[in-house]
């Protein structure tokens, strides 16, 4: 659509206004976390100084660093585990044509439309039975299970572009199947791994329902349910510390986003073309 023409300035100004409106709540979040109690209930007043008291309170009262550690453990654990099992399954789903693999493909596919809300209760009883209730391991397993269909298809799509001759010559050189996969194939699937991470890291980090249901000890809680509980337990009406802790919880993702933004669009394009 007129790709080579520069669009009008008026249109650009309009879009910039809309963009600022979209950014405003993020600015507001930041602003409220620095706003002195005196001005806190005046929505049009900006903070008069950098007031760090809410941050100090938040880190003390909420035990922010425990939450942060748990969130990092669960996020890295789930992404890492999903990458290991789904790269292997995606690879063979793309290479083998036998009936078993075609059925596995359909089995995974059906998982993409089934919502998990009804399964939460049986999952709860299962967790109790296998003694994984109230563990971060359980969260990793649940997230991994949820990722497997999407991640397998992603890896399967990227495997198609790797020439088979590579595997044949490697196995003629006496390379065993597992070494062949981890040493030769997996590194070539790096774009798939990157796409998977940058499109799914946010979902785990930001999830609060699963930890809310399956964890009940404060020392194991991840950040999002921790913030919700912190908010509900607060006696005072001043939400300053809640805003401060929200800023801290969002910050790692914003940093990650800043570094990966340009790959995000590329990753999605690759997924769309290959899928």
């Amino acid at each position: 659509m007129g790709l080579n023409k520069r669009p009008s300035l008026a249109l650009e100004a309009l879009l910039i206004l809309a963009a600022l409106a979209f950014l405003f709540p993020i600015f507001f979040l930041l602003e409220m976390s620095f706003k002195e109690p005196r001005y806190f209930f005046k929505p049009y007043e900006l903070p008069h100084s950098f007031y760090f008291d809410y941050y100090r309170k938040a880190v003390q009262d909420m035990d922010f660093f425990t939450g942060l550690t748990n969130s990092v453990l669960v996020t890295v654990g789930a992404l890492g585990f999903a990458i290991i099992v789904a790269s292997m399954s995606g690879y063979v789903l793309s290479r083998r044509q036998e009936r078993l693999f075609r059925y596995a493909y359909l089995f995974f596919l059906s998982g993409m439309v089934i919502p998990t809300v009804g399964s939460l209760i049986p999952l709860f009883t299962l967790a109790v039975k296998i003694h994984l209730m109230n563990t971060r391991t359980l969260l990793v397993l649940i997230y991994t299970a949820g990722f497997i269909p999407f991640a397998s298809f992603l890896y399967a799509a990227f495997t198609k572009s790797i020439p088979r001759e590579l595997e044949e010559s490697a196995s003629l050189d006496g390379c065993g199947p597992f070494r062949l996969f981890w040493r030769i194939i997996f590194p070539l699937l790096l774009p798939a791994t990157g796409t998977f991470i940058i499109t799914n890291v946010y979902g785990i980090w930001n999830d609060f329902l699963t930890p809310l249901i399956f964890l009940n000890q404060p020392e194991k809680m991840t950040l999002m349910p921790q913030i919700v509980q912190f908010m509900f337990n607060k006696q005072s009406v001043n939400y300053g510390p809640v805003f401060a802790v929200s800023v801290l919880a969002v910050l790692p993702l914003v940093v990650l986003f800043a570094f990966t933004q340009k790959y995000m669009l590329k990753g999605l394009t690759a997924g769309a073309v290959k899928g």
Binding site: P43, V85, T116, P122, A145, N206, V228, L253, A272
Partner: protein, 292 residues
């Protein structure tokens, strides 16, 4: 054992971990939930088979009914508001604005903000004496200013609007990825043929974009059916049951009222909705996709 036989078994070994974890932690609980949906079960006593009673009761329960109504509203809203707006935004963001990088970042940044934080920020902005009402007062008059999330008639529409803060940017990015994968020679050919403006969009861009349309529609619908976090955190379904969604009604009957059997029946109805809509939607859009 022959070489090909051996290779087959090794491939099976590669598949096994994914199959086992997916089966045990995703599929098995789902299949169990089908059985539990026909029982009366509170998690303590053994489940008792009661046939279709749970399903019958679903359609008499105010929370479930309001939940279903609102969930359907969200699906329709997603299809006719979010989806066209996202496409429009993507078409704009694909043009050569001087501030293109800034624009793309601004519209996409809200997507990475967690719904917990989103509801904290918007809850504050939408307070009765908060920022939004201060802006609205001179425009719509003091008499019309209200607690948008605390009023029966406006609570759910407000939540639907809030979903757009993240929904539009998310869908626009997928459309943008689709737009960028259209080869430029298609446009060159269209230019020679003299196609311009809306005709160009209607006959060239849109058909080439159909696979993105399929993905976005799927994500919009499934996202709408799973709407839970915002109503849970902002209104907890209230006031009354005006902002319940089906997901929230299921959650509350399970983890508040311990009616596990009943809650799983609600979950199955939600699953049936999602599956039915997906099948119909894929049937319609897949046919129109153009192979590149």
């Amino acid at each position: 054992m022959s070489l090909s036989r051996k290779q087959y078994w090794i491939a099976c070994l590669f598949l096994l971990p994914a199959l086992a974890i997916f089966g045990l932690f995703f599929y098995f609980p789902f299949l169990q939930s089908i059985y539990y949906s026909f029982t009366e079960w509170n998690g303590i006593k053994a489940p008792r088979f009661i046939g279709f009673d749970n399903y019958r009761y679903l359609f008499q329960d105010a929370q479930m009914l309001d939940g279903m109504k609102n969930t359907l509203k969200m699906v329709v809203f997603g299809l006719i508001v979010q989806n066209p707006l996202a496409l429009l935004l993507a078409l704009l963001l694909n043009r050569k604005f001087r501030t293109r990088g800034f624009l793309r970042t601004s519209f996409y940044l809200p997507v990475i903000i967690s719904l917990v934080v989103t509801s904290i920020v918007w809850g504050e902005l939408l307070k009765y004496d908060g920022f939004i009402n201060g802006l609205l007062e001179p425009i719509i008059g003091e008499a019309h200013v209200q607690d948008w999330l605390g009023t029966v008639s406006t609570s759910f529409p407000t939540i639907m609007l809030l979903t757009q803060w993240q929904g539009i940017g998310y869908c626009a990015l997928i459309y943008l990825a689709g737009l960028q994968s259209i080869p430029t020679d298609v446009y060159e050919a269209a230019d020679i043929e003299g196609a311009k403006g809306f005709a160009l969009f209607r006959h060239v861009t849109f058909p080439m974009l159909m696979s993105s349309v399929t993905i976005v529609l799927f994500l919009t619908i499934v996202g709408a059916l799973r709407l839970f976090d915002l109503p849970f955190l902002l209104t907890n379904g209230g006031p009354g049951s005006s902002s319940y969604t089906l997901f929230l009604a299921v959650y509350n009957s399970a983890f508040k009222n311990q009616s596990y059997g009943y809650a799983t029946a609600g979950g199955i109805v939600l699953a049936l909705f999602i599956i039915a809509v997906t099948v119909v939607q894929l049937g319609i859009t897949r046919k129109r996709e153009v192979e590149l």
